[in-house]
């Protein structure tokens, strides 16, 4: 038995929670809940949770997959950098298609030095080992991957590692959720990303209940966590409450991780606006490297100008990320577009809605 895992995967208990949800739902209505985070999308498909739930519960996949929301222009930016420097990045970023079906993977096949890393510290190590070359860490992710990037930048400064820089694409969860709610998505509640809350705490979601009058439950990633969170949402909806609740109290403290927050404050500042795939330009929704560390900003060092580029014509990732369409609405899903040969970003990472649909065969 793996502690903190097996206890949260018991199929018998899952069915009990499902039964309780089925008794609680009111026959005259539907409950539309968005799971913001791709980790939840993955869990829902992997464990077939939709099959356990009564039809009144509609799960809508959200934009919480960092690979999926990065617009093509930023992928093109990384490919451009790979012509001038060693580019280090997380494995998922290798296959994301940029313009003209180009990807970092293809750039590497054509001779660029692109390396997959597990962690930002590995990118630092590449810089130490290649002092005569420029090394750029192509950093992406929400608040969970941001503090590690901050540590790497700070460490580079301590070591005076002048050949290291970061192409920063870190984005923020709360503005994206606000963007979704503003876009008029019809939602009755939100399954909130919890590892993000392990960093930023729970307070940043107060607006969901206060301004938009929607319930949100910060949920763990095991199947029973997701089921329990859905039950908590149903109960809130039924009693007319709209609160921020924490199902994942074993890993998330109300205030989050103060040390990680301080680091992010020190090394980054908010961008005025950032373009997201599907959600468009959103104000104060992403971070850039702060003035005190600007010598490590690859965009400044290489004078990189990111331009907007359009997605593959057939790709519906944009609508899928806004919760308006589902992967099965895409004509090329599973045909021209597969995880081996993705046309859009939602098919790349296992947290992407298209990849999850595809891998777990729940599209038939």
């Amino acid at each position: 038995m793996i502690k903190y895992v097996d206890e949260y995967r018991d199929g018998e208990v899952a069915r009990h929670i499902a039964k309780r949800i089925a008794t609680d739902v009111r026959p005259e209505r539907t409950y539309r809940f968005m799971e913001f985070c791709g980790g939840h999308t993955h869990a829902i498909f992997r464990y077939g949770l939709s099959d356990l739930l009564p039809p009144a519960i509609r799960l809508i996949h959200g934009p919480g997959c960092p690979v999926c929301v990065l617009p093509i222009g930023r992928v093109d930016g990384a490919i451009a950098l790979s012509k001038q420097a060693i580019v280090a990045t997380y494995a998922d970023m290798m296959r994301v298609p940029g313009s003209n079906a180009m990807s970092l993977f293809r750039a590497r096949a054509e001779g660029a030095d692109v390396r997959m890393v597990y962690s930002a510290t590995d990118a630092l190590q590449i810089a130490r080992e290649n002092p005569e070359k420029e090394v750029v860490f192509f950093a992406i992710g929400f608040e969970t991957t941001t503090p590690p990037t901050a540590l790497a930048i700070r460490q580079a400064k301590i070591e005076n590692l002048s050949n290291f820089s970061v192409y920063c694409n870190h984005v923020l969860t709360p503005p994206a959720l606000r963007g979704i709610l503003d876009s008029g998505a019809e939602l009755d509640g939100v399954i909130g990303p919890s590892h993000v809350s392990a960093v930023i705490g729970i307070g940043p979601y107060d607006f969901v209940s206060e301004k938009y009058g929607k319930p949100i439950v910060i949920s763990g990633f095991e199947p029973l966590d997701v089921m329990q969170s859905i039950l908590m949402l149903v109960e809130q909806v039924n009693s007319g409450r709209a609160e921020v609740e924490n199902e994942y109290s074993r890993a998330v403290e109300g205030n989050g991780n103060a040390r990680a927050q301080m680091l992010m404050e020190e090394v980054f500042e908010l961008r005025d606006a950032f373009e997201w795939r599907g959600l468009g330009w959103m104000e104060r929704s992403a971070r850039k490297i702060s003035a005190g560390y600007s010598e490590y900003d690859a965009e400044i060092r290489f004078g990189l100008i990111t331009s907007s580029a359009s997605d593959h014509k057939a790709c519906e990732c944009g609508e899928i990320l806004r919760g308006i369409k589902s992967p099965k609405d895409c004509k090329v899903f599973g045909k021209a577009c597969t995880p081996e040969n993705p046309l859009g970003s939602c098919m790349v990472s296992s947290e992407g809605a298209c990849a999850a649909y595809y891998s777990y065969g729940r599209y038939k």
């Binding site: 502690k3 039964k19 690979v67 998922d92 590690p148 329990q228 890993a251 403290e253 991780n257 990472s349």
Partner: protein, 72 residues
């Protein structure tokens, strides 16, 4: 890249690094983002960094909540 499962710290190493066991596999990670870490702690690991510790008491409470569902 964001999927994470709980890992158990099996040894503390130099420079805020630690050896963890994660589903039977051992891996070196950083505990620099934690206030403090001890052997035996369970942590949530993302891209090579422990982001938070798991609280046993809270974990028990959640499990108890699940079993309240039993027989209802």
């Amino acid at each position: 890249m964001c999927l994470a499962i709980p890992a158990r710290i099996v040894a503390l190493l130099e420079k805020s690094r630690a050896l963890v066991e994660l589903g039977g596999v051992r891996k070196e990670i950083s505990v620099e983002l934690l206030e403090e870490a001890q052997v035996g702690d369970y942590v949530i690991v993302h891209v090579g960094y422990a982001l938070s510790k798991l609280d046993e008491e809270e974990a028990m409470k959640t499990i108890a909540l699940f079993s309240e569902m039993d027989g209802e």
